[in-house]
C-alpha cells in the first residue's frame, strides 16, 4: 500500500513542478535563432507556396525558415491584418471588409498574382453525351432552388438519367468563385448536392456515378484524368476545354481565376521576406508547374516582381471578386 501512495506523491510532485514551471516561463525567451517568414491562408494556394518555401529553404541551406499554415483565405487575412503573418495566401482578391480591417491596424500590403487556377466542370467517363455546357445551362443547374434533377432537363437531347451533383463546400474560395462566375452572385447556389471541402471526395463521387456532374480546381482533374471527363465551357464564343493554353490566352472563361499572395509592406522591408518573395516570383513558372497550377508567362512574373520591388501597395480589385479576368487585364489594372 505504502509503495503506491509514494508513487502518487512522486507523480504529483513531478507534475506540479512541470505544470508551474511551464506556465510561468515568460514569453521573453521566445526568440528564434534563424529569421522566420510566416505565411498562412488559402489551402488552394498552399501547394504553390509550399513548393516555393521548400526550394527556397534548400537554396538558403536552412539560414532562413519559412512556415506555411492553411487557415483559409478569410482566416489567413484575419491574421494578416493583425500583423501576425508576413505573407497571406489568397485564392481571391482581398475583400472590402478585410481592407478595412488592415487599414485599422495600419497594415499595408503588396498584392502579387502568382498563378492561374481553372475551375473544371467534370462528368463521369461513361457520360458520352456531354461534350460541352453553356454558362446559361450551368446557371440553370446550380442556381438557388433549381428544380433540374435529370439530364434531359438540361438539354432535351440528353438521356433520361437522374442528375447527381457534386460541388465545393460553402466555406471554400472555390465555392465563392464558382457561384459568382456562373450564378452571378457569390454564395448563391442550390443546396441539394453533395458538398465537400475535400476535393478528393468529389473526385471519388463523380467517378462512381454515371449521372454525376461536379466542379473543382484543375489540379484535381489533372491528377485523375483516367477517372473523370472534363466538360468544355461555352460562354457564347464556342466550347473551350480547360488547359494551360486556354487559361493563358483568356478563352477559358469565366472559370479561370488568378490566385495571389499578399505581402505585408512592413515585413517586405526585412531581407528574409524580400529574398523569399523574389525567389518565389523569379522561379514562378517552375514552382507553379510543380504544384499543377497554370503559371503566368515569364514576362508577367517580371512585371509582378517589378511591382514588388517598387513596393506598390494596395489592391487592383477594389474589394470585389474578379470574374473573367484575362491575364492582360490582371497586369494592366492600376493599383489604387
Amino acid at each position: 500500500m505504502s509503495t503506491s501512495a509514494k508513487n502518487v506523491t512522486r507523480l504529483g510532485v513531478i507534475a506540479a513542478i512541470a505544470a508551474i514551471s511551464s506556465t510561468v516561463i515568460p514569453a521573453a525567451f521566445s526568440q528564434q535563432s534563424a529569421p522566420v517568414v510566416r505565411i498562412d491562408g488559402s489551402s488552394t494556394v498552399y501547394p504553390v507556396t509550399e513548393v516555393a518555401a521548400e526550394q527556397f529553404q534548400k537554396q538558403q541551406g536552412g539560414k532562413i525558415r519559412v512556415t506555411v499554415g492553411i487557415s483559409g483565405t478569410g482566416g489567413g487575412f484575419k491574421k494578416f491584418c493583425r500583423g501576425e503573418t508576413d505573407i497571406s495566401n489568397a485564392s481571391r482578391p482581398i475583400l472590402a471588409k478585410e481592407m478595412e480591417e488592415c487599414k485599422k491596424n495600419n497594415i499595408q500590403y503588396i498584392e502579387l498574382p502568382v498563378a492561374y487556377d481553372a475551375l473544371t466542370v467534370v462528368v463521369n467517363p461513361q457520360n458520352t453525351w456531354t461534350k460541352s455546357l453553356t454558362v446559361a445551362e450551368l446557371k440553370k443547374v446550380w442556381e438557388p432552388d433549381s428544380k433540374i434533377n435529370n439530364w434531359n432537363q438540361i438539354r432535351s437531347e440528353f438521356p433520361n438519367l437522374p442528375l447527381k451533383l457534386f460541388g465545393a463546400g460553402a466555406d471554400s474560395g472555390t465555392f465563392d468563385y464558382f457561384t459568382e462566375a456562373i450564378v452571378g452572385k457569390a454564395k448563391a447556389s442550390r443546396k441539394d448536392y453533395t458538398a465537400s471541402e475535400d476535393d478528393n471526395v468529389l473526385v471519388q463521387g463523380v467517378s462512381r456515378e454515371r449521372g454525376a456532374l461536379g466542379y473543382f480546381g484543375y489540379a484535381y482533374y489533372a491528377e485523375n484524368k483516367n477517372k473523370l471527363k472534363a466538360v468544355a465551357i461555352d460562354n457564347g464564343r464556342g466550347p473551350v476545354m480547360p488547359s494551360e493554353k486556354t487559361v493563358l490566352d483568356g478563352t477559358y472563361q469565366p472559370l479561370s481565376r488568378p490566385i495571389f499572395i499578399y505581402v505585408n509592406a512592413n515585413s517586405a522591408k526585412r531581407p528574409e521576406v524580400r529574398q523569399f518573395v523574389s525567389y518565389y516570383l523569379s522561379n514562378g513558372p517552375a514552382i507553379v508547374k510543380k504544384s499543377k497550377y497554370v503559371p503566368l508567362p515569364s514576362s508577367a512574373y517580371k512585371a509582378i516582381l517589378a511591382r514588388f520591388n517598387k513596393n506598390q501597395v494596395g489592391t487592383a480589385f477594389g474589394g470585389k471578386e474578379a470574374i473573367g479576368l484575362k491575364l492582360d487585364d490582371l497586369l494592366k489594372r492600376s493599383i489604387q
Binding site: 506540479a16 514551471s21 525558415r65
Partner: protein, 315 residues
C-alpha cells in the same frame, strides 16, 4: 410470497420447472451470442481499419519517413516535425490536465459541500465532455492567443487540448473515488487518520486504476485532434524542430520549445488526404500508423502504472 396462481402451478410441476429453466438458459445463450457478435463487429472494424492503414502505408514506413520534414514531393515528404510536434503538445497536455483534473475531481467528490452549486457544476462538467472540440479551439484562440498573448505555440496547443480532456479526467476521477468501499474510509478514520490522510494514503491509491483509464481515454482523444489546433494556428509546412529542452551551457534546461511554432500528425495527415496526387494518400496512411504507435507509446506509461496500482490493491 408468490401470489400468481400460474407461477404456483409451475412450481408444483417438475416438468414445467425444467422447461422454464431450459427457456431461461436459451435466453442466456442468446445474449452471450449477441455479446460475441457486438464484440466481433467492433473488433473487425478496428482490425480492418488498422490493416488497411498498414498495408497502404507499409512501403513508406522507414527511418527516412520518420526523419524527413514535409515536402511537396510525396517520396521526399516525411513526418519529423509532425510527430515531434504531436509528442511535445501531448506532454504539455498531460502535465497541465492530469494534476488539475485529479485535483478538481478530489475536491468535488471529497470536500465540496453537497448543495445546488455542486449539482450545477457537475452538470456543466458532464456537458463540457460532449462539447465539440472546435469550441475549445475558439475559446483558446480568444484566451491563450489574444489575451495571454502566448501566440501560436506548443504551450497554447497543449493547454487547449488540456482544457478539452479536463472534463473526462475530472469525471472519471470522481467515479473512481466514489467506487471505493465505505469500509476503507471508515477503517482509516477509526484509527485516527485525517480526511486528507484517508484520501491520499487509501482512497486515491485504490482508485488510481480507474483514474488512469480516464487519463488514457483523454490522451487518446487529444492526440488525434485537428480542428482546435488549426483554429489556434497550427502550421502545415514547417521544416524545423523546436529548440532542444537540454542545453550544453548553464542553466542546461531550456523551455524555449514551449513557444515554438509547430504542426501535429493529424494535421499533416489531413493535408495529405486532401491533396490531388494519389501518392500522398500513402503518406497519409503511413502517418496514420505512426500516430497509432505514438498513441500507444504515450499511453503505455499510464497503462503500466495502472497495472502496478491494480496489482497492489488487495481488498
Amino acid at each position: 410470497m408468490v401470489r400468481n396462481p400460474k407461477l404456483i402451478a409451475v412450481l408444483h410441476n417438475p416438468i414445467a420447472i425444467a422447461e422454464s429453466i431450459q427457456q431461461r438458459k436459451r435466453w442466456e445463450q442468446f445474449f452471450i451470442l449477441l455479446g460475441w457478435f457486438s464484440l466481433l463487429v467492433a473488433l473487425l472494424t478496428l482490425v480492418v481499419l488498422v490493416a488497411d492503414l498498414l498495408i497502404r502505408g507499409w512501403p513508406l514506413l522507414n527511418l527516412k519517413f520518420l526523419l524527413s520534414p514535409p515536402s511537396s514531393d510525396p517520396e521526399e515528404a516525411g513526418i519529423l516535425t509532425a510527430w515531434v510536434g504531436s509528442l511535445l503538445v501531448i506532454l504539455v497536455t498531460i502535465v497541465v490536465a492530469v494534476p488539475l483534473g485529479i485535483g478538481a475531481g478530489i475536491y468535488l467528490e471529497e470536500y465540496a459541500p453537497k448543495n445546488w452549486l455542486l449539482d450545477f457544476i457537475e452538470i456543466n462538467i458532464t456537458n463540457l465532455a460532449g462539447v465539440p472540440s472546435i469550441i475549445y479551439g475558439l475559446l483558446a484562440l480568444g484566451f491563450f492567443v489574444y489575451i495571454l498573448k502566448w501566440g501560436e505555440s506548443i504551450l497554447t496547443a497543449g493547454c487547449t487540448l488540456a482544457l478539452l480532456i479536463l472534463p473526462v479526467v475530472i469525471v472519471t476521477t470522481r467515479e473512481s473515488l466514489r467506487a471505493i468501499p465505505v469500509g476503507i474510509r471508515e477503517g482509516a478514520y477509526s484509527v485516527g487518520a485525517s480526511r486528507w490522510q484517508t484520501i491520499f494514503d487509501h482512497v486515491l491509491p485504490y482508485s488510481m486504476g480507474g483514474i488512469l483509464t480516464g487519463i488514457i481515454v483523454g490522451i487518446s482523444r487529444a492526440i488525434g485532434e485537428t480542428a482546435p489546433l488549426i483554429t489556434i494556428g497550427a502550421l502545415t509546412f514547417i521544416t524545423f524542430l523546436p529548440e532542444a529542452p537540454i542545453k550544453g551551457e548553464f542553466p542546461y534546461i531550456s523551455f524555449n520549445w514551449l513557444w515554438s511554432p509547430f504542426t501535429v500528425l493529424p494535421i499533416q495527415m489531413f493535408n495529405w488526404v486532401s491533396r490531388p496526387q494519389e501518392a500522398f494518400q500513402i503518406n497519409s496512411a503511413a502517418a496514420g500508423v505512426v500516430l497509432l504507435v505514438l498513441t500507444l507509446l504515450v499511453n503505455s506509461t499510464a497503462i503500466y502504472l495502472r497495472y502496478r496500482f491494480r496489482k497492489s490493491i488487495k481488498f
